[in-house]
Protein backbone atom coordinates (compact mmCIF):
# COMPACT_ATOMS: atom_id res chain seq x y z
CA UNK A 1 0.00 0.00 0.00
CA UNK A 2 1.43 3.33 -1.05
CA UNK A 3 1.40 6.19 1.41
CA UNK A 4 1.33 9.96 0.86
CA UNK A 5 5.05 10.41 1.45
CA UNK A 6 5.89 7.89 -1.26
CA UNK A 7 3.54 9.59 -3.70
CA UNK A 8 5.12 12.97 -3.00
CA UNK A 9 8.53 11.44 -3.72
CA UNK A 10 7.20 9.95 -6.94
CA UNK A 11 5.76 13.30 -8.02
CA UNK A 12 9.20 14.84 -7.46
CA UNK A 13 10.97 12.10 -9.41
CA UNK A 14 8.60 10.84 -12.10
CA UNK A 15 6.98 14.21 -12.68
CA UNK A 16 3.44 15.37 -13.01
CA UNK A 17 2.51 13.19 -15.98
CA UNK A 18 0.98 10.08 -14.46
CA UNK A 19 1.60 8.14 -17.66
CA UNK A 20 5.32 8.27 -16.91
CA UNK A 21 4.80 6.55 -13.57
CA UNK A 22 5.29 2.83 -12.93
CA UNK A 23 2.33 1.07 -14.52
CA UNK A 24 1.79 -1.23 -11.54
CA UNK A 25 0.99 1.70 -9.22
CA UNK A 26 -0.82 4.04 -11.60
CA UNK A 27 -4.41 3.18 -10.78
CA UNK A 28 -3.84 3.12 -7.02
CA UNK A 29 -2.04 6.50 -7.13
CA UNK A 30 -4.74 8.11 -9.26
CA UNK A 31 -7.37 7.08 -6.74
CA UNK A 32 -5.23 8.31 -3.84
CA UNK A 33 -4.63 11.70 -5.46
CA UNK A 34 -8.30 12.13 -6.36
CA UNK A 35 -9.24 11.92 -2.70
CA UNK A 36 -6.34 13.98 -1.28
CA UNK A 37 -6.33 17.73 -1.88
CA UNK A 38 -2.73 18.17 -0.71
CA UNK A 39 -1.49 15.67 -3.26
CA UNK A 40 -3.57 17.30 -5.99
CA UNK A 41 -1.96 20.63 -5.14
CA UNK A 42 1.54 19.07 -5.19
CA UNK A 43 0.76 17.54 -8.56
CA UNK A 44 -0.40 20.86 -10.04
CA UNK A 45 2.70 22.66 -8.69
CA UNK A 46 4.91 19.96 -10.23
CA UNK A 47 3.02 20.38 -13.49
CA UNK A 48 3.63 24.13 -13.65
CA UNK A 49 7.30 23.67 -12.68
CA UNK A 50 7.75 21.15 -15.47
CA UNK A 51 6.06 23.40 -17.97
CA UNK A 52 8.42 26.20 -17.04
CA UNK A 53 11.43 23.89 -17.28
CA UNK A 54 10.33 22.60 -20.66
CA UNK A 55 10.03 26.15 -21.96
CA UNK A 56 13.50 26.94 -20.64
CA UNK A 57 14.93 23.87 -22.29
CA UNK A 58 13.21 24.66 -25.55
CA UNK A 59 14.48 28.24 -25.60
CA UNK A 60 18.03 27.24 -24.68
CA UNK A 61 18.17 24.45 -27.24
CA UNK A 62 20.74 25.07 -29.96
CA UNK A 63 19.07 25.88 -33.28
CA UNK A 64 20.28 23.54 -35.95
CA UNK A 65 19.49 24.36 -39.54
CA UNK A 66 17.31 22.11 -41.67
CA UNK A 67 19.90 22.21 -44.45
CA UNK A 68 22.57 20.87 -42.11
CA UNK A 69 20.15 18.17 -41.01
CA UNK A 70 19.45 17.10 -44.60
CA UNK A 71 23.15 17.05 -45.44
CA UNK A 72 24.05 14.98 -42.42
CA UNK A 73 21.20 12.55 -43.08
CA UNK A 74 22.51 12.08 -46.63
CA UNK A 75 26.02 11.49 -45.33
CA UNK A 76 24.83 8.95 -42.78
CA UNK A 77 22.69 7.10 -45.29
CA UNK A 78 25.51 6.89 -47.81
CA UNK A 79 27.99 5.72 -45.17
CA UNK A 80 25.63 3.03 -43.90
CA UNK A 81 25.24 1.87 -47.49
CA UNK A 82 28.98 1.27 -47.71
CA UNK A 83 29.43 -0.08 -44.20
CA UNK A 84 29.55 -3.84 -43.88
CA UNK A 85 27.80 -5.45 -40.97
CA UNK A 86 29.70 -7.91 -38.81
CA UNK A 87 28.83 -11.54 -39.64
CA UNK A 88 27.71 -14.10 -37.08
CA UNK A 89 30.76 -15.91 -35.63
CA UNK A 90 30.25 -19.14 -37.60
CA UNK A 91 29.89 -17.27 -40.89
CA UNK A 92 32.97 -15.21 -40.04
CA UNK A 93 35.02 -18.41 -39.55
CA UNK A 94 33.82 -19.92 -42.82
CA UNK A 95 34.54 -16.70 -44.63
CA UNK A 96 37.99 -16.50 -43.10
CA UNK A 97 38.96 -19.97 -44.25
CA UNK A 98 37.55 -19.50 -47.73
CA UNK A 99 38.94 -16.06 -48.34
CA UNK A 100 41.65 -16.39 -51.03
CA UNK A 101 43.70 -13.57 -49.56
CA UNK A 102 43.78 -15.24 -46.15
CA UNK A 103 44.41 -18.69 -47.63
CA UNK A 104 47.28 -17.47 -49.84
CA UNK A 105 48.80 -15.69 -46.90
CA UNK A 106 48.75 -18.88 -44.86
CA UNK A 107 49.88 -21.11 -47.78
CA UNK A 108 53.69 -21.03 -47.14
CA UNK A 109 53.20 -21.79 -43.48
CA UNK A 110 50.92 -24.75 -44.27
CA UNK A 111 53.39 -26.15 -46.87
CA UNK A 112 56.27 -25.76 -44.41
CA UNK A 113 54.30 -27.65 -41.76
CA UNK A 114 53.48 -30.51 -44.16
CA UNK A 115 57.15 -30.79 -45.17
CA UNK A 116 58.19 -30.89 -41.54
CA UNK A 117 55.70 -33.69 -40.90
CA UNK A 118 57.10 -35.72 -43.83
CA UNK A 119 60.67 -35.22 -42.58
CA UNK A 120 59.70 -36.33 -39.07
CA UNK A 121 57.97 -39.41 -40.49
CA UNK A 122 61.07 -40.35 -42.51
CA UNK A 123 63.61 -39.74 -39.76
CA UNK A 124 61.73 -41.46 -37.00
CA UNK A 125 60.37 -44.35 -39.04
CA UNK A 126 60.24 -47.53 -36.91
CA UNK A 127 62.93 -49.95 -38.06
CA UNK A 128 61.79 -53.60 -38.70
CA UNK A 129 63.20 -56.26 -36.43
CA UNK A 130 66.55 -57.34 -37.73
CA UNK A 131 66.83 -61.12 -38.07
CA UNK A 132 70.33 -62.30 -37.56
CA UNK A 133 71.10 -64.32 -40.69
CA UNK A 134 74.75 -64.80 -39.76
CA UNK A 135 74.20 -68.52 -39.15
CA UNK A 136 73.01 -71.11 -41.64
CA UNK A 137 70.66 -73.89 -40.64
CA UNK A 138 73.63 -76.31 -40.66
CA UNK A 139 75.50 -74.14 -38.19
CA UNK A 140 72.38 -73.90 -36.09
CA UNK A 141 72.05 -77.69 -36.17
CA UNK A 142 75.65 -77.97 -35.01
CA UNK A 143 74.87 -75.56 -32.19
CA UNK A 144 71.92 -77.70 -31.13
CA UNK A 145 74.13 -80.81 -31.13
CA UNK A 146 76.79 -78.96 -29.16
CA UNK A 147 74.25 -77.87 -26.63
CA UNK A 148 72.75 -81.37 -26.37
CA UNK A 149 69.34 -80.31 -27.56
CA UNK A 150 69.47 -82.10 -30.89
CA UNK A 151 68.53 -85.47 -29.50
CA UNK A 152 65.40 -84.13 -28.02
CA UNK A 153 64.47 -82.59 -31.33
CA UNK A 154 64.99 -85.81 -33.20
CA UNK A 155 63.00 -87.70 -30.62
CA UNK A 156 60.11 -85.42 -31.21
CA UNK A 157 60.31 -86.23 -34.93
CA UNK A 158 61.13 -82.82 -36.08
CA UNK A 159 62.92 -83.02 -39.38
CA UNK A 160 65.54 -80.53 -40.44
CA UNK A 161 63.49 -79.46 -43.46
CA UNK A 162 60.76 -78.12 -41.19
CA UNK A 163 63.14 -75.44 -40.12
CA UNK A 164 62.66 -72.85 -42.79
CA UNK A 165 64.89 -70.42 -41.13
CA UNK A 166 66.70 -69.89 -37.92
CA UNK A 167 63.99 -68.01 -36.18
CA UNK A 168 61.16 -70.41 -36.94
CA UNK A 169 63.28 -73.38 -36.07
CA UNK A 170 64.42 -71.90 -32.82
CA UNK A 171 60.90 -71.00 -31.88
CA UNK A 172 59.70 -74.53 -32.56
CA UNK A 173 62.52 -76.00 -30.54
CA UNK A 174 61.80 -73.80 -27.59
CA UNK A 175 58.11 -74.59 -27.86
CA UNK A 176 58.60 -78.37 -27.85
CA UNK A 177 61.21 -78.28 -25.13
Amino acid sequence: MINREQILQMIAGYGANLQHWPVSNQQEIKEFIATDSELSLALSIAESDELMLKECFASSEPQWSAVAERNLAKKINSSTGKAEKPLPWWQAIIQRFTDPAQVLQAFPAVVAMLLLMVVVQVVYKKEPAQIDLAYSSEEFQDWLVFEGINEGVEQLGLADDTMENELEGFAEVVYYL
Partner: protein, 190 residues
Protein backbone atom coordinates in the same frame (compact mmCIF):
# COMPACT_ATOMS: atom_id res chain seq x y z
CA UNK B 1 4.04 -3.07 -48.09
CA UNK B 2 3.41 -0.84 -45.10
CA UNK B 3 4.77 2.70 -45.31
CA UNK B 4 7.95 3.11 -43.30
CA UNK B 5 6.77 6.22 -41.50
CA UNK B 6 3.85 4.23 -40.07
CA UNK B 7 6.11 1.60 -38.56
CA UNK B 8 7.22 1.64 -34.94
CA UNK B 9 10.86 2.17 -33.98
CA UNK B 10 11.26 -1.50 -33.13
CA UNK B 11 9.84 -2.60 -36.45
CA UNK B 12 12.24 -0.24 -38.21
CA UNK B 13 15.30 -1.46 -36.30
CA UNK B 14 14.31 -5.07 -36.99
CA UNK B 15 14.25 -4.27 -40.69
CA UNK B 16 17.53 -2.39 -40.41
CA UNK B 17 19.03 -5.49 -38.79
CA UNK B 18 18.08 -7.32 -41.98
CA UNK B 19 20.05 -4.76 -44.02
CA UNK B 20 17.04 -2.70 -45.09
CA UNK B 21 18.60 0.71 -45.52
CA UNK B 22 15.36 2.58 -46.09
CA UNK B 23 14.12 1.54 -42.65
CA UNK B 24 17.30 2.80 -41.06
CA UNK B 25 17.03 6.05 -43.03
CA UNK B 26 13.58 6.54 -41.51
CA UNK B 27 15.06 6.16 -38.02
CA UNK B 28 17.78 8.65 -38.92
CA UNK B 29 15.15 11.12 -40.03
CA UNK B 30 13.17 10.65 -36.80
CA UNK B 31 16.01 11.19 -34.34
CA UNK B 32 18.85 12.97 -36.10
CA UNK B 33 18.01 16.52 -35.04
CA UNK B 34 17.29 15.71 -31.40
CA UNK B 35 20.47 13.64 -31.12
CA UNK B 36 22.65 16.37 -32.63
CA UNK B 37 21.09 18.99 -30.35
CA UNK B 38 21.52 16.72 -27.33
CA UNK B 39 25.19 16.14 -28.12
CA UNK B 40 25.75 19.84 -28.83
CA UNK B 41 24.74 20.69 -25.28
CA UNK B 42 27.96 18.94 -24.23
CA UNK B 43 30.36 19.64 -27.06
CA UNK B 44 29.09 23.20 -27.68
CA UNK B 45 29.97 22.65 -31.32
CA UNK B 46 27.64 21.54 -34.09
CA UNK B 47 30.47 20.30 -36.29
CA UNK B 48 31.81 18.04 -33.51
CA UNK B 49 28.34 16.79 -32.66
CA UNK B 50 27.58 16.06 -36.30
CA UNK B 51 30.67 13.86 -36.48
CA UNK B 52 29.77 12.16 -33.21
CA UNK B 53 26.19 11.47 -34.30
CA UNK B 54 27.29 10.25 -37.72
CA UNK B 55 29.68 7.79 -36.09
CA UNK B 56 26.98 6.79 -33.59
CA UNK B 57 24.48 6.04 -36.35
CA UNK B 58 27.09 3.97 -38.16
CA UNK B 59 27.61 2.00 -34.96
CA UNK B 60 23.85 1.63 -34.59
CA UNK B 61 23.57 0.34 -38.18
CA UNK B 62 26.29 -2.26 -37.60
CA UNK B 63 24.76 -3.40 -34.30
CA UNK B 64 21.07 -3.07 -35.19
CA UNK B 65 20.52 -6.74 -34.39
CA UNK B 66 21.58 -6.16 -30.77
CA UNK B 67 18.70 -3.75 -30.16
CA UNK B 68 15.71 -5.76 -28.98
CA UNK B 69 12.41 -4.71 -27.46
CA UNK B 70 13.37 -6.34 -24.17
CA UNK B 71 16.31 -3.96 -23.77
CA UNK B 72 14.15 -0.83 -23.87
CA UNK B 73 13.12 1.64 -26.53
CA UNK B 74 15.08 2.28 -29.71
CA UNK B 75 15.09 5.96 -28.83
CA UNK B 76 16.88 5.35 -25.52
CA UNK B 77 19.27 2.95 -27.28
CA UNK B 78 20.22 5.66 -29.78
CA UNK B 79 20.54 8.29 -27.07
CA UNK B 80 22.76 5.95 -25.09
CA UNK B 81 25.10 5.44 -28.07
CA UNK B 82 25.31 9.18 -28.68
CA UNK B 83 25.73 9.98 -24.99
CA UNK B 84 28.60 7.50 -24.62
CA UNK B 85 30.23 8.72 -27.84
CA UNK B 86 29.92 12.33 -26.66
CA UNK B 87 31.46 11.56 -23.27
CA UNK B 88 34.32 9.71 -25.00
CA UNK B 89 34.82 12.66 -27.30
CA UNK B 90 34.92 15.10 -24.38
CA UNK B 91 37.45 12.95 -22.53
CA UNK B 92 39.70 12.78 -25.57
CA UNK B 93 39.38 16.43 -26.57
CA UNK B 94 38.91 18.09 -23.23
CA UNK B 95 41.36 20.84 -23.93
CA UNK B 96 40.14 21.79 -27.40
CA UNK B 97 36.51 21.95 -26.31
CA UNK B 98 37.25 24.04 -23.27
CA UNK B 99 39.34 26.48 -25.33
CA UNK B 100 36.18 27.76 -26.88
CA UNK B 101 34.86 26.11 -29.96
CA UNK B 102 31.54 27.10 -28.43
CA UNK B 103 32.20 30.73 -29.11
CA UNK B 104 32.99 29.91 -32.72
CA UNK B 105 30.19 27.55 -33.40
CA UNK B 106 26.96 27.95 -31.51
CA UNK B 107 26.09 31.53 -30.76
CA UNK B 108 25.67 32.58 -34.37
CA UNK B 109 23.18 29.75 -34.94
CA UNK B 110 21.53 30.21 -31.58
CA UNK B 111 20.91 33.89 -31.82
CA UNK B 112 17.33 34.82 -32.40
CA UNK B 113 16.55 38.49 -33.19
CA UNK B 114 12.99 38.12 -31.88
CA UNK B 115 14.14 37.48 -28.36
CA UNK B 116 13.67 40.33 -25.95
CA UNK B 117 16.37 41.35 -23.54
CA UNK B 118 14.41 39.79 -20.68
CA UNK B 119 14.10 36.48 -22.48
CA UNK B 120 17.80 36.53 -23.25
CA UNK B 121 18.56 37.15 -19.58
CA UNK B 122 16.23 34.36 -18.52
CA UNK B 123 17.89 32.01 -20.96
CA UNK B 124 21.31 33.00 -19.73
CA UNK B 125 20.23 32.36 -16.15
CA UNK B 126 18.85 28.95 -17.07
CA UNK B 127 21.99 27.94 -19.00
CA UNK B 128 24.13 28.90 -16.05
CA UNK B 129 21.91 27.12 -13.53
CA UNK B 130 21.90 24.01 -15.70
CA UNK B 131 25.67 24.11 -16.07
CA UNK B 132 26.05 24.20 -12.30
CA UNK B 133 24.20 20.90 -11.89
CA UNK B 134 26.24 17.70 -11.61
CA UNK B 135 26.74 16.07 -15.00
CA UNK B 136 24.42 13.10 -14.47
CA UNK B 137 21.62 15.22 -13.03
CA UNK B 138 21.91 17.56 -16.01
CA UNK B 139 21.82 14.66 -18.46
CA UNK B 140 18.86 13.03 -16.76
CA UNK B 141 16.93 16.29 -16.68
CA UNK B 142 17.74 17.11 -20.29
CA UNK B 143 16.69 13.66 -21.52
CA UNK B 144 13.50 13.73 -19.45
CA UNK B 145 12.38 17.31 -20.03
CA UNK B 146 13.79 18.16 -23.40
CA UNK B 147 13.87 14.88 -25.28
CA UNK B 148 10.73 13.34 -23.86
CA UNK B 149 12.32 10.14 -22.60
CA UNK B 150 10.50 8.30 -19.83
CA UNK B 151 12.19 7.55 -16.50
CA UNK B 152 12.76 3.96 -17.68
CA UNK B 153 14.42 5.21 -20.88
CA UNK B 154 16.58 7.71 -18.99
CA UNK B 155 17.68 4.94 -16.64
CA UNK B 156 18.61 2.82 -19.67
CA UNK B 157 20.77 5.66 -21.05
CA UNK B 158 22.52 6.27 -17.74
CA UNK B 159 22.78 2.61 -16.72
CA UNK B 160 20.82 3.16 -13.52
CA UNK B 161 17.71 1.60 -12.08
CA UNK B 162 14.45 3.57 -12.38
CA UNK B 163 14.37 4.42 -8.66
CA UNK B 164 17.87 5.92 -8.77
CA UNK B 165 16.97 7.86 -11.92
CA UNK B 166 13.80 9.14 -10.33
CA UNK B 167 15.70 10.46 -7.30
CA UNK B 168 18.36 11.94 -9.61
CA UNK B 169 15.61 13.83 -11.42
CA UNK B 170 14.01 14.92 -8.17
CA UNK B 171 17.35 16.30 -6.93
CA UNK B 172 17.98 18.11 -10.20
CA UNK B 173 14.54 19.75 -10.19
CA UNK B 174 14.87 20.68 -6.54
CA UNK B 175 18.29 22.26 -7.13
CA UNK B 176 16.96 24.34 -10.01
CA UNK B 177 13.93 25.39 -8.02
CA UNK B 178 16.03 26.39 -5.00
CA UNK B 179 18.39 28.35 -7.18
CA UNK B 180 15.49 30.12 -8.83
CA UNK B 181 14.05 31.07 -5.45
CA UNK B 182 17.41 32.32 -4.20
CA UNK B 183 18.10 34.31 -7.36
CA UNK B 184 14.57 35.75 -7.55
CA UNK B 185 15.11 37.19 -4.09
CA UNK B 186 18.18 38.91 -5.53
CA UNK B 187 16.15 39.89 -8.58
CA UNK B 188 18.39 38.06 -11.01
CA UNK B 189 16.29 35.43 -12.72
CA UNK B 190 13.00 34.29 -14.21
Amino acid sequence: MKKLNLLSDHQLIERAAKNEQAAFAELVQRYLASLVKFSTRYTLSFSCSEDIVQEAFLRAWRNASSCSASKGSVKSWLFKIVYNATIDFLRKNKREVSIGSSELDIPCEKQNPDKTLLQAQQQQWFDQALAELPERQRTALCLFMNNGLSVIDVSAVLDLNPEATSSLLARAKRSLKNKRQQDSQLGACL
